[in-house]
Each structure stands twice: as C-alpha cells, then as structure tokens.
C-alpha cells in the first residue's frame, strides 16, 4: 500500500514513498524530521498539529499523507529566516511572554501567521476567533492574544517570509 507523493515543504520540492494509512503528521515528523509539528489529541481538537496547506491552516493529524501530493505545505520550521532569526510573529510571542511549555506554540504561531496575512489589524475578538482552533493548557491565552496584537503593531507577517510561507489569501 505504498504510494509516491511529491509536494513543496517549506519552499523546497520534496518527494517520498508513503503508506496510504499514514497521516500527514506522521510523514512530516518521521520522514522529514519536522518535529515542530506536535501531536496532541490526534482527532482534530487541539490544533497542536496545525500546518499551512495551500494557504490555509489545517490539522495534519486528520490529513491523509497521500492528500499532500502536489500541495504547498509550511510547518513552523519554515517560518524563521534561514540564518535562524525569528520572524515577526515568533519574536512577538517571545517578547509578550506567550510561551510556557511551548507545546501549543508552533500551531499557535502558524494560526497567527495566517490570521495576520488575512487580516493585518485584527481586534482582540478577531484574534480569539482566529486562534480558536488552537488549545493552550498553560498560558490562559491572554499573553498569546497580546503577542498577536504586538506582531500586528510591529508590521504583521513580513514580506521576506511570505515567499516561503505560501499564503494565497483566498477570501
């Protein structure tokens, strides 16, 4: 039950053989060592496994690996600059103290990236709605909302990352 898939991962063309039973998160973590993609619940409830697929956040635990064929996928590893410099949203999470254990953070950052690409100046309510698919068991969310506000104030999603993060803002 093997199948070969080819897709774009953090700006790079990649391919691999997958078992049709595999989920995308298994392939990203096990084959490509993208261990920033976290598995929390495995059933689409926590958002820890969030990745961006063709410009939309999705949960990689409920996404069959074979569906990745031909897609453009961004994980948290594709967000920072090549030299390791954090991007604007990541830096805002650090500056606002929005990270405690960090397990939810990759998913939170990716949802924030998409939110700010779609809506560069969100209200706090819009931020809450944009992040409502991501659960955090540590922070109580206030600092995370602060971080997204800060990122928006500091210029939102930086353009030099946008050629790596394939946001095609559909709506």
């Amino acid at each position: 039950m093997k199948q070969t898939i080819a897709f774009t991962l953090n700006g790079e063309a990649v391919s691999c053989d997958v078992d049709v039973r595999q989920s995308l998160i298994e392939v990203l973590r096990d084959e490509f060592e993208m261990t920033g993609v976290k598995e929390g619940c495995s059933v689409g409830e926590c958002g820890a496994c969030t990745v961006i697929i063709d410009g939309q956040t999705m949960e990689s635990c409920l996404y069959m690996a074979v569906w990745a064929n031909g897609k453009n996928i961004t994980t948290i590893e594709g967000v920072a600059a090549e030299d390791g410099h954090l991007d604007n949203v990541q830096q805002a999470f650090v500056d606002a103290g929005a990270v405690q254990c960090g397990y939810c953070t990759p998913g939170m950052v990716l949802s924030s990236e998409q939110l700010l690409a779609d809506n560069p100046n969100p209200t706090r309510d819009e931020i809450r709605r944009g992040l409502s698919g991501n659960m955090c068991r540590c922070t109580g969310y206030q600092k995370i909302v602060d971080a997204v506000e800060l990122a928006a104030k500091n210029g939102g999603v930086k353009t030099d990352n946008r050629n790596k993060i394939p946001f095609h803002v559909a709506n």
């Binding site: 049709v20 039973r21 059933v43 409830e45 958002g47 956040t57 409920l62 069959m64 569906w67 998409q114």
Partner: protein, 290 residues
C-alpha cells in the same frame, strides 16, 4: 496510522462507482474531519475498511448561481469557502452564519458541507439552515441521478437513507426558498469554538411591510434524533402579525415537533431552549444585524 485496508483516489464519479462495485464496504471520505475521527475511534464501519477519496472530482466543487436563480453548492465546498462566498453572503446569510460557527478555523478549512450532511450528526451546524432553505440534494449513483429534499434524508442519529454508491454531488436551493427571507441561527455549546452543538435553532422568515408573517421556517439541531423542522409552529405563524404573544405561541408549538431527552442538559432545560430560541432568532433576523 489510520486503520484502513486501502485508499482509492477517485477522479470521477465513475471511479467511485467502480470501487463500490468491487468493495461495497468502502467508505467515502471528503474533508476527513468526521470519517478520520471515527476511524481513530475504531467506530464500526469506519475502521478496517478501504477509503475512497473524492476531493479531485470536478462535479462536487464550487458555488454557482444558475440562470433560474437556483443556488448550487458543491458537496466538497468547505465551511470556510461557504462562509466567505459572495453568492452565499448575499442570498443565504443564515447558512453563512451557521457554518461560521463550526469548530475552529482549521476544521472550517478542512470540513465539507457534503460531509456534514452525510454524517448526519443530530447537532451538525449546517443541517438546520439547509432544512430551513428546503435544500434539495443532487445524488448520483450507479443507476442514475435523483433529487432528494434534505428533510427526507435523515432517519436517525448518524443515519440517512443513502445507500453504498450514493454520492451527494450538489446541494441546491431554489430562488423562491431564499429570496425575501432573513434568518438567524443560534448554537448552544459549552465553548464558543471547537465544540459540537448541545442544541441549535435556525429561523428563516419572510414578512410584509405590516410585519405580517408571510412564511416562517424553523429548524432545530440536537433537539430530536435527527435535525427537524417545526411544521406545527410554522403553520400557526402563517399570516400572524409579530408580537410577543405570537412569538411565545410559536415557541410553544415547536415542542410538538421536537423530541428532547435528558443528556448533558436536562429535558426541562432543553425544552425551554426549544420554546425561546425561535422567537429570539426571529427578532434578531428582522433587526437585520446579520
């Protein structure tokens, strides 16, 4: 790994029918937000079966306004696509509002309206609105095409009249069923996001300048074994002028068509919601906020 015996990517409806012919137990998967969850839970008929992917089939895509005014929604449209579609926002605000309350953003990007209907959860967020719009499903099967009103679809919790090989291709709403109506949907859940409705209610109403009710449609989620309309209340409302007493009587009449029982909430609380939500939805809809 998902507990499946194989995966077929269908590129056409003929591909789906060919797989079903050789393997009648194969299950169709659209966005995966329901089928793959049930697969992980090892639910009967969802695990140890082959899956048929239908994401590439062109007939199931996109939202169109037909020349006769019918709005045709492809079964594979995601909740997010429907929420933001200009045709839906202009003509079917009730549906746009209802699907905006599904899960979180990721679920709205992945989950499809066709899947939401076919999985037939009693609290599925799209069902009350589609019932109110008298939506008609275009179903294709190896023996041909048929049209099924959505009110004839549900037979029980997670159960429908659909047979293996039936594919819901499009969801159609005639112009007469949306033009001149305003609506509002209320979802009751423990959390605002990422939750399944404990109970929900959609109201769709058309009034004249004298505030007389020309037509009223009320539908409930999670208030009976299946999503249901409230025909007794709807018939009562016909021609009445809106007032507090009329709204109250509408709410009471809704109890004739719902069938609540105690679960996460008591029957008394659920019945209370059945009686108050329609009136609130009607007033909110008529205020035109949404």
């Amino acid at each position: 790994m998902y507990d499946i015996t194989g995966y077929h990517e269908a590129h056409s409806l003929a591909d789906v029918f060919a797989v079903i012919r050789t393997d009648p137990h194969a299950r169709i998967v659209a966005g995966g937000t329901d089928v793959l969850v049930k697969n992980r839970a090892e639910a009967a008929t969802y695990a140890e079966v082959a899956l048929i992917g239908i994401r590439e089939i062109p007939e199931l895509q996109g939202i169109r306004l037909e020349v006769d005014g019918t709005i045709s929604i492809g079964a594979l449209c995601s909740f997010d696509e429907i929420e933001h579609d200009p045709i839906i926002r202009q003509h079917m605000g009730l549906l746009a509002q209802a699907v905006s309350l599904v899960g979180g953003p990721q679920t709205r990007h992945m989950g499809t309206i066709g899947g939401n209907i076919c999985n037939a959860g009693p609290g599925a967020d799209s069902s009350p609105s589609l019932l109110a719009y008298n939506a008609v499903l275009e179903i294709q099967s190896p023996t041909g095409t048929r049209h099924l009103p959505i009110r004839d679809l549900f037979t029980g919790p997670s159960q429908t009249v659909l047979k293996p090989g039936d594919v819901v291709v499009r969801i159609n709403v005639a112009q007469a069923d949306y033009q001149g109506y305003v609506g509002y949907y209320t979802k009751f859940a423990r959390r605002n996001a990422l939750d399944i409705a404990n109970q929900s209610c959609a109201a769709l109403i058309k009034v004249n300048d004298q505030q007389e009710i020309q037509d009223l449609r009320i539908a409930f989620g999670a208030s009976a074994p299946t999503p249901v309309r409230a025909p007794h209340a709807e018939a009562y409302a016909q021609g009445k002028t809106i007032s507090a007493d009329v709204l109250k009587a509408i709410g009471t009449a809704c109890l004739k068509d719902t069938k609540t029982h105690s679960g996460r909430n008591s029957k008394a609380f659920r019945d209370h919601l059945v009686t108050v939500l329609p009136g609130r939805n009607i007033m909110t809809a008529l205020k035109g906020d949404e």
